[in-house]
Amino acid sequence: MSKEKPFSHPYIPNTVPEIKSEMLKRIGVSDIEELFQAIPENLRFKGKLKLPKPYLSEYELKRHVLSILSKNKTCESNLNFLGGGCWQHYVPAVCNEINGRSEFLTAYGGTSYNNLGRFQAHFEFQSLMGELLDMDVVSVPTYSWGTAAGYAIRMATRLTQRNEVLVSKTINPEHLAVIKTFCSSANGSNRIEIKLIDYHTKTGLTNLHDLRSKISSSTAAIYIENPTYLGTIESQGQEISDIAHTYGGISLVGVDPITLGVLKPPAHYGADIVVGTAQTLGIHMNCGGGTIGFIASRDEEPYIAEYPLFLYSITDTLEEGEYGFGNCTFERTSYVGREKAKDWVGTVSGLWTITAAVYMALMGPQGFRDIGRSIIQRSHYATKLLSEIKGVKILFGDQFFKEFIVNFDEANRTVRTVNDALLNDNIFGGKDLSSEFPELGNSSLYCITEMHTEEDIHKLVHSLKKVLGK
């Protein structure tokens, strides 16, 4: 390796041999190899990494990657009815414009002097989300809704010094899987026990009888999602919160904020901690790469003390009338506390946080009301037409927001065969629930947003009729 072979790459300025020699001379060595002397010979990788021949020109690289990406079929060129934790809402151009800005895209976590923009935009996210939720504290978001729920459950167990949580069976199964990982422990006495609460298979609502039979003075929190994974609007929020409070537990609710122009925020039915996504607020699905999750609560010291995440606070500066920002009680976090910290925080979802702030600003109060109404009307129009198809049944009645369950038991068809046929018509049918919720038979979860036109809905109906008619 001692003989330098000239290698030039546009991303690496110091590949120029003369520059390298000059730098080596300054260091006082004759070969770069000498700089690796700390690595023992037996740990040195011998030979060359077996990687494909690179596309060194940008054009060839672009052609190569596009040739692979073109094997994907998109929700833009096809008609998509999948939701269930990742949703296709319209992304305003301004959202893309702002998150494409080099200054936001390529910065990391600098100080408020150099990165005031991030601090202020994050504080604005917290403030805007605070209005949607009607809560005074909102965190800088973490990785996803599921991880936010996992953290919030851990917060609740620390706040109550109890180690059991009741979780509704109607929460998103992906969230439940994450929660299970977060609640497990290498130390048996620290393990958080999760008990699942039944739902009424007629209505999709939480079974309060089952809830009452399972709650006890060991219950740290009850966690429900509203709307539920199965689409229904939970109208017993207040009763559920009251039950939690009666036993000294915490009411924890997960929410999709796109609903909050028309649905009551969980704080209005007794929720103490609220978690949720912001992916629906201006962030592309990105094959699930667009997840982001927040935690919110009242502004009470014991709660603040248990947050694992960053909380940006507004403050003032040396200059009269100037806003400043900083990390509230930074000592809580894992950057300072290591194993004594409140769980952990790290690189989370900064760019999506900024994007969601832009979205909420664009929408304003009326935008949220309009989108809620538009979605509800479209989704109910879809169920109205779908329920008229022979062999199709809509489960759980008509109290849902954007998602609902289409059942094919009467047509004697599996969701898989139906979806296969729909795919031939360039339609991505709803998510197959038959293994996640076997009690619902051949059911699938459909999602309708403001992006589905009357024509799109007719196309689905037409295609389903054709499929089931065979």
Binding site: S185, A186, G288, S334, Y335, Q377
Partner: protein, 520 residues
């Protein structure tokens, strides 16, 4: 050499933007939503009727009402008040590898073939994405020597948590979980290792460095026992020091029956140079937003590739991408899996960017990345160590790899100006402040620059020249540093309210409430 460099005049943008909650007027709209078509409305009627009475929102959220140009202007101005890697010589932010994220890769990540994909789509319709995930996994296997990778953690800390969960599952299966409840790390490993191992239920034992900066081997032997679940470490550590006895460290843990995890969040100095496998590690992770060029996005979303040896692959989070020679599949049927650490498959746009980056570099390019990073770091060391007030801690027998822990201890003793003062003054020269190092700061007045391969010799010289100038100012007129920054977007914040329940405010509404209360 540094004396010849003329420092540029700089002032960061000052827009004095209001908080967005203060903007706009009632009735303004930022965007309009497609109303349901007339036929739909006629068929279903009022939307409200489908919402149970007691769950209807009766008063609209108190969001601001602002028109689109004003919103755009506001956020563009905030962006200008944010210094990105692309706008500055971001050598200061060490450990984070602030490398160039190629624009072409960003353009590819923003095509509908990436953005408009739902993770539950039929496998047949996402073969492109699965192929990229699978192939990046193969590349990382080659780079690390480990056998199977997944991308579910969307940040480095979530990867170390994933690892702790995997260790947990491994011992649970062997019936040793109650016995093996200790994880060993080193002080100069990332603090998230301690935090996440603890969150997963382990006791954490932190190995302190000896005078040379290496983890103390004798101490390791004394703490290693039948209770040891494993080791979770970085190498080179936060100090830039590569521990040549790393294999020995791993062997001590293995002989006690423990597992070893290599935190390679930053692997920028060792690509094609040394691998996790040869050092004996069982698991590792790479941050795609560091070594593999995905942009940092103002604190995420990141993506960590987490990989393990074959024997541990059955514990990986689900799903895992498999290839049958013709098609790619998502494998969920893995009964030993730890389950999920995050929804779906991970931050896939970052996976795409990393794939494209490696395909644009090749084996020779990756090796060059590490060689040049290490060259830059040692070149910069020569420049920095000539600056009055700068010292380097620990072993000077060996060269550091991709970054170096320095100290302004001498400057502080001589002038009263320490690392924080220098950090604030750097802002006035258009540089992102240097990162001190992770806590606890046992190296006094620390700073940790990382001149990765994206920076030219001139960039290194300029960075050093700025620090030299600041040192000169500290010795001649320390007040300049004490009052810095002078040319920045904002001034020193009042930090007292951040820890005061009566004054902290995480939302505008809380701010107003507390302000009004004080004024009453």
């Amino acid at each position: 050499m540094k004396e010849d460099i003329k420092l540029k005049k700089y002032h960061s943008p000052v827009w004095s933007e209001p908080i967005i909650m203060e903007m706009g007027h009632q009735g303004e709209r930022g965007i309009l939503i497609p109303e349901a078509e007339e036929e739909i409305k006629a068929a279903v009627g009022d939307a409200q009727s489908y919402i149970p009475q007691n769950t209807r929102r009766t008063t609209l959220p108190k969001l601001p009402e602002i028109s689109q140009p004003q919103i755009l202007r506001h956020f563009l101005r905030l962006s200008q008040e944010n210094l990105g890697m692309e706008e500055n010589i971001e050598i200061g932010t060490g450990t984070a590898t602030m490398k160039y994220s190629p624009k072409i890769n960003e353009a590819l990540a923003r095509t509908p073939q990436m953005t408009e994909i739902h993770p539950y789509q039929d496998e047949r319709t996402i073969q492109g994405i699965l192929e990229i995930m699978y192939k990046l996994g193969l590349f990382l296997s080659e780079i690390s020597g480990l056998d199977q990778f997944i991308f579910q953690p969307s940040g480095g800390s979530l990867a170390t948590f994933t690892n702790a969960c995997l260790f947990r599952a491994y011992y649970a299966e062997r019936g040793e979980l109650e016995q093996r409840d200790e994880i060993i790390t080193t002080l100069f490993s990332h603090p998230c290792i301690s935090a996440t191992a603890h969150a997963a239920g382990f006791k954490v034992i932190t190995l302190m460095p000896n005078e040379e900066g290496y983890p103390d081997m004798e101490a390791l032997k004394s703490i290693c026992s039948e209770r040891t679940a494993g080791l979770m470490v970085t190498n080179p550590e936060d100090t830039g020091i590569y521990n040549p006895r790393i294999k020995e460290l791993v062997e001590i843990i293995h002989s006690a029956g423990g597992l070893c995890f290599y935190d390679q969040a930053n692997a920028n100095g060792i690509l094609g140079i040394t691998r996790a496998k040869e050092a004996g590690f069982d698991a590792c992770h790479f941050n795609l937003h560091k070594t593999f060029s995905s942009p940092h996005g103002s604190y995420g979303p990141g993506c960590a590739a987490y990989g393990v040896r074959e024997e541990l692959a059955k514990f990986l989070p689900i799903p895992v991408v498999l290839f049958d020679g013709e098609n790619y599949h998502l494998d969920y049927k893995r009964p030993y899996s730890i389950g999920k650490v995050r929804e779906f498959f991970g931050n896939i746009p970052a996976v795409l960017r990393a794939y494209a980056w490696i395909m644009g570099m090749g084996a020779e390019g990756l090796l060059e990345v590490s060689r040049v990073s290490v060259l830059n770091n040692n070149y910069l060391a020569k420049q920095l160590l000539e600056i009055r007030g700068v010292v380097r801690y620990y072993d000077d027998k060996n060269f550091r790899l991709e970054l170096t822990r320095y100290s302004w201890e001498k400057l502080k003793q001589d002038t009263g100006c320490g690392t924080d003062d220098v950090r604030r003054r750097m802002v006035d020269y258009g540089l992102q402040s240097h990162f001190m190092g992770h806590q606890p700061w046992i190296v006094p007045e620390p700073f940790t620059p990382e001149p990765c391969e994206s920076y030219s010799k001139e960039d290194c010289d300029y960075f050093a020249a700025v620090l030299q100038q600041i040192s000169k100012e500290a010795y001649t007129n320390p007040e300049i540093l004490k009052k810095a920054p002078h040319n920045a977007t904002t001034h020193q914040p009042n930090t007292a309210p951040l820890n005061d329940p009566k004054r902290w405010a995480m939302t505008w509404s809380a701010y107003l409430k507390k302000k009004n209360k004080r004024e009453d």
